[in-house]
């Protein structure tokens, strides 16, 4: 069972690599691409720590083989900050509103929230809670996570109105 050639876009950059077909996307990102932002929490699809964006949709990278995403575009938490290096509104808001404690779930939470705000730029608290229902926070800091996502949505909507 030979290695396969995979090509994809990762955080805006085209990459090419050799990988065993059985490589899970999370392992490929962390070990081959050295992107250790996405975490491995449960390895069973439940916790959402490994959430990444695939062609604009949130997916769990521990439940996906690398070959399945060949030819597609992947965004990890490393690709969320603004091009000039300043923090994205979501990252700012998580800091400002104490949306993280130990920080383990944070890359998955922010990546998921990023896609959620694209689907629904002005979500209610209930929609935020439903939208992040596939992400667990072991520190159970959900109140502030919801607050941070709401604040980021407001910030982004104000920015958009100003442009």
């Amino acid at each position: 069972m030979s290695k396969m050639h995979v090509k994809m876009t990762v955080n805006g950059k085209e990459i090419e690599a050799l990988a065993e077909p059985r490589t899970l996307l999370i392992h490929f990102l962390r070990e081959n691409q050295k992107l250790t932002g996405p975490h491995i929490g449960c390895d069973t699809g439940h916790c959402g720590a490994c959430t990444i964006d695939l062609d604009g949709k949130s997916i769990k990278s521990c439940m996906t083989f690398v070959g399945q995403v060949a030819g597609k575009s992947v965004t990890t938490i490393e690709g969320i900050a603004n091009p000039d290096g300043t923090l994205h509104a979501l990252q700012e808001a998580f800091r400002e509103h104490h949306g993280l404690q130990c920080g383990f779930c944070t890359p998955g939470m922010i990546t998921r929230a990023h896609s959620l705000l694209q689907e629904n730029p002005d979500p209610t608290d209930e929609e935020i809670r439903y939208g992040i229902s596939g992400n667990l926070c072991r520190c159970t800091g959900y109140q502030n996570i919801v607050k941070a996502i709401r604040a980021a949505a407001q910030m982004l909507n104000v920015q958009e109105a100003a442009e």
């Binding site: 699809g45 949130s58 997916i59 439940m63 996906t64 083989f65 959620l116 229902s133 596939g134």
Partner: protein, 287 residues
């Protein structure tokens, strides 16, 4: 957990995929979203030597509706089912049920075809397909056949599909306009399979039931179409005594496993609760 080794293939058409299946036989498995298969591969309960990824096959990805006839391609994702306004207009129980499957990330890759082909009694869509009296289209090198969802499931992970067949589409006729519907699922947390769940579809005329259909999830080693319970509702005006008799009839066909979701008696009892709630909710949604 690392799955065993395999070779990965991405055929571009149904015929290319069925040729591979014919050639590789039991050494090959289809992968759709992978969200039931990859967990099995991690546990080494599935050890395919070849994975045939069917994501590039263009003609099994769409929903087409003509009149009340619905055809859904196998690679339509659970998120697509939720987002289809056309489907929502004619058969809203598909959206209601899909919203109770797993979580947003899983539904972005998990497909309807994988959910119904998988054969896990915990999957939510098979009982719904039985309730809708849907048929599955199975294609192999030697031809195409259609199998009713009500005849498809044999035991946990054993279905009528042979290993050289691909499930390409699901066909059904949407229930009459104004039908009442509900999918009630009791689960321990988001992303959990049902402790018990019930799908109910009823069509009323002047308060009398013209047609009724009830399906049950995860209370036996296959999904269940509750035929007797459905029949009891037909012709009635859904008085309390009739509902009670249908609930009891549904409970008698169950044989739930004892697992972390609770002892058998509890799950049988809960089946009754889900059926009753689903009937009452269906009455409310009927117009």
């Amino acid at each position: 957990m690392i799955p065993g080794s395999f070779d990965y293939h991405r055929p571009q058409s149904v015929s290319e995929a069925t040729a591979m299946l014919a050639d590789l036989g039991e050494d090959a498995l289809i992968v759709a979203g992978g969200h039931s298969l990859i967990p099995m591969m991690k546990l080494r309960m599935a050890l395919p030597e070849h994975l045939i990824d069917i994501q590039d096959i263009a003609d099994i990805k769409s929903i087409s509706i003509s009149g009340r006839d619905v055809a859904i391609g196998a690679m339509v994702t659970q998120a697509d089912l939720i987002n289809s306004a056309e489907l929502q207009a004619i058969c809203p129980i598909l959206r209601e049920t899909s919203l109770q499957i797993a979580d947003p990330q899983i539904r972005n890759l998990g497909t309807i075809g994988g959910n119904v082909a998988n054969g896990d009694p915990g999957n939510d869509l098979p009982a719904l397909m039985q309730t809708l009296d849907a048929s599955y289209i199975l294609v192999s090198n030697s031809g195409t056949r259609e199998v009713k969802a009500r005849d498809f499931y044999e035991a946990a992970y054993f279905t009528e599909r042979s290993e050289t067949e691909i499930l390409t589409a699901i066909h059904f006729t949407a229930p009459p306009a104004g039908h009442g519907f509900s999918y009630m699922k009791q689960k321990r947390k988001i992303g959990d399979y049902a402790t018990a769940a019930a799908a109910v579809i009823i069509a009323l005329k002047d308060g009398t039931v013209e047609s009724a259909s009830i399906g049950l999830t995860n209370v036996s080693d296959t999904p269940l179409y509750a035929e007797q319970a459905s029949r009891l509702l037909i012709g009635s005006r859904l008085d309390d005594a009739t509902i009670k008799s249908a609930v009891e009839a549904a409970k008698t066909i169950t044989d739930p496993a004892e697992d972390g979701r609770g002892p058998k008696e509890f799950r049988v009892h809960l089946t009754g609760v889900m059926v009753e709630r689903a009937i009452r909710q269906a009455i409310k949604t009927a117009t």
